[in-house]
Symmetry: C2
């Protein structure tokens, strides 16, 4: 297949096309197979032809289907800082291949449609998936532009890394989650966080005059992204020059501690506290506490803002296997080859979850949120790290299972993939548990 | 020492200061010790204070002394592509420490002043140095912001990597260096390279209407850098958008094949030919032919332009030890652990050098230039890869010695460091040869 569609066709939703497309919210997009970036020729050639280039400055890097290339090549678009794996030998997972059984696994999606596991991956625009069961690799697949050694954008899966580290420092007495944010960051006096505790920030229970709508470019989350170096600056841009400058502009609205409200800026504040108190950047902490002791296979990296601050809200990029290693660490309650890298109490606290009464989020019924993790409270005891365009780390202790999954779904919001993925992951856990 | 000088003092040459400074071309600069970026606090803090930030967009990233931080942190400023080391175990050099003897080695610099080896490193703003003798590490030092695992800007040392690969492809029959450039790149018909052979390009014997003066921002080399993503674009920039677009604008002046004339754009044309013919990017080729088979310790990276093209003229960043591995490969005439990674004839051809009559460059008397290497024709049979701000790879077969040296000298041009370094490297070779 070497179908080439024109730029105009690619930028606009595709009408009058049925085969090789999927419809979301009244618009048609190339499907998981037809949007394969290699087949479409994105960034192929020396140099790539103009209508096949993904350039950061054009602000189309993250349009669909360009993002099917971009999410596996973020560092080729923006400035990044390395997360060093160290000099040790990579840890290895034994293999116990169950591909045939897993591919054929049938399950009913949220709309009642019976799907196969393999087809469901394509329909959720998976770029790759690794499944561990009892610490062994039972399933591993790559699609699109992803390769085993290539880091992929984690987006908000980053938050669960940051939340885990912060919770560890709280447990170890380095941080006190009952303190108000200005105790650590006097710079944030007079902002929304003036009277928010670190714990409220960790649990996204702050009242902020800050909107986070990925489909509306007027939403505050877009201004945050521009300030933090993750979107190009419009000509004559006079807004906040750095991530920390931006955080200083956020004002309070409502009450802290009352209700879950997902705002990425909370994660940046949390990570800023951690950096100030430890004297270590987020990238250094990831290296010291996770990448090196876990024996990660490849270096990761984090997008930095113009002042060199790594974005803990969504800037991490890691390989699929290294994401799976983190998941396996959490499944093992923070213990890795005889060493306790993260206190077990941190994992237990996340698994207990937050107060469901403070979690009004309808998209994930029965869930709660704790220390930047999504807690399913389901029969598998699963907790999830979740990032836009369908990034997932699914840790299911009662099935002894970890699923690491990267994707480049056309839509930022999770609804369309969750309808398929939530029952898909549950079905796989049930199968492996038996 | 925790001397902090103000932004204004740093930007301007320092007058009325003697201690801790050096004078070049009538201006005073902080010396190698006083310009230590950690001591000065560059990019320290979360976020770093405004007067200690190195930001790409401000176009001060490569001012002195900021560059003492920047050259060890290029990827935190610009977009880059990874040069993967692969999954193998790193190759190791045995150690045979001769630090004390080498530190104390006395030699006369070009002005007749007697210096010690260790002091000379400080006075040439070394960021690090590794010396191999008979394949063993005899000396290894890090200064400034450099660490063993951090890649440092190679600048034009990159050219010798690219020249070696191109010469290998010529030797292997993949490329024909007698062909005119448009044979491979029809895009360059009508440009300076229309009637230049690949060999003339490889040896920098082209007549180009293109100036390369690092001290004059009106020089063409600055426009090339802006187009290739290595300098920020001024507001309203309407010039070439990509490296290849830029190359298409270069016109002929003079005659090809007559005389050596150092123009970085030749290297970009050479690497573009290699990428087109092999179907592999420069970064992929570095991985396949050098980084993986050499057992490099860390991934390297290359700065990319807005179309994703790696800059072969000066965009490579590598660790000091991995640079030394490349030098040792050349010293071993392309053989590594029983495998011929680069044909020995490529190394022999470089060692024979170019025609000294076509090398009018007064800065390095007796030298010639071949396949993007500088050929000393000295008693050690040394060839050099040379990059601005005093980057060096010095391969001296008759002393069985390799010197890899990174630096962040205030001046781009090599004169002030060569006055010290050329006799310094020769003296070390003589000492080790005995």
């Amino acid at each position: 297949m070497s179908k080439i569609v024109t730029e105009i066709e690619l930028r606009a939703p595709l009408d009058n096309v049925e085969e090789g497309t999927l419809e979301f919210e009244g618009k048609r997009y190339l499907d998981g197979r037809a949007s394969d970036p290699r087949e479409l020729g994105w960034m192929c050639g020396a140099p790539p032809p103009e209508d096949r280039r993904v350039t950061f400055e054009s602000d189309t890097s993250f349009d669909f289907p360009q993002k099917r290339w971009s999410l596996s090549h973020m560092r080729e678009l923006v400035a990044t800082v390395n997360v060093w794996r160290g000099q040790g030998t990579p840890s290895q997972f034994e293999h116990s291949d169950k591909s045939a059984d897993i591919d054929a696994l049938a399950f009913a999606d949220g709309d009642g449609r019976i799907r196969r596991f393999d087809g469901a991956l394509l329909d959720t625009y998976a770029d790759g998936i690794v499944v561990l069961h009892r610490g062994r690799t039972v399933y591993e697949r790559y699609f699109g532009a992803l390769e085993p050694q290539l880091p992929h954008a984690c987006y908000s899966v980053t938050k669960s890394y940051a939340g885990t580290l912060t919770a560890a420092f709280v447990q170890e007495g380095v941080l006190d989650d009952s303190k108000m944010i200005p105790h650590y960051l006097p710079e944030l006096k007079g902002t929304a966080w003036e009277d928010a505790t670190l714990r409220q920030v960790m649990d996204m229970q702050t009242g902020l005059a800050h909107t986070e709508e990925y489909t509306d470019e007027r939403s505050d989350v877009w201004a945050y992204r521009i300030a933090s170096g993750r979107r190009p600056r419009p000509a004559g841009y006079l807004g906040a020059q750095t991530l920390c400058d931006y955080l200083r502009t956020v004002r309070k609205q409502g009450t802290h501690g009352e209700v879950f409200a997902y705002k990425t800026v909370n994660t940046e504040v949390m990570a800023w506290v951690m950096a100030c108190v430890t004297g270590r950047s987020f990238a250094q902490l990831l290296h010291e506490r996770l990448w090196a002791p876990l024996g990660c296979e490849e270096d990761g990296y984090v997008i930095v803002d113009p002042a060199g601050m790594p974005s803990a809200g969504g800037g991490l990029n890691a390989t699929l296997r290294d994401l799976a290693r983190f998941g396996e660490l959490i499944r093992r309650e923070g213990e890795w080859n005889g060493k306790q890298l993260i206190p077990a109490s941190v994992v237990h606290d996340v698994q207990r979850g937050g107060d469901p009464a403070k979690f009004p989020y309808k998209g994930l019924p029965g869930y709660s949120y704790r220390s930047m993790w999504w807690v399913s409270h389901n029969e598998l005891g699963a907790i999830e790290a979740r990032g836009q365009h369908a990034q997932r780390l699914y840790v299911a202790p009662k099935a002894e299972m970890v699923i690491a999954r990267f994707a480049s779904h056309p839509l930022a919001s999770a609804g369309h993939s969750d309808t398929i993925s939530v029952p898909q992951m549950l079905a796989l856990g049930r199968m492996l548990r038996e």
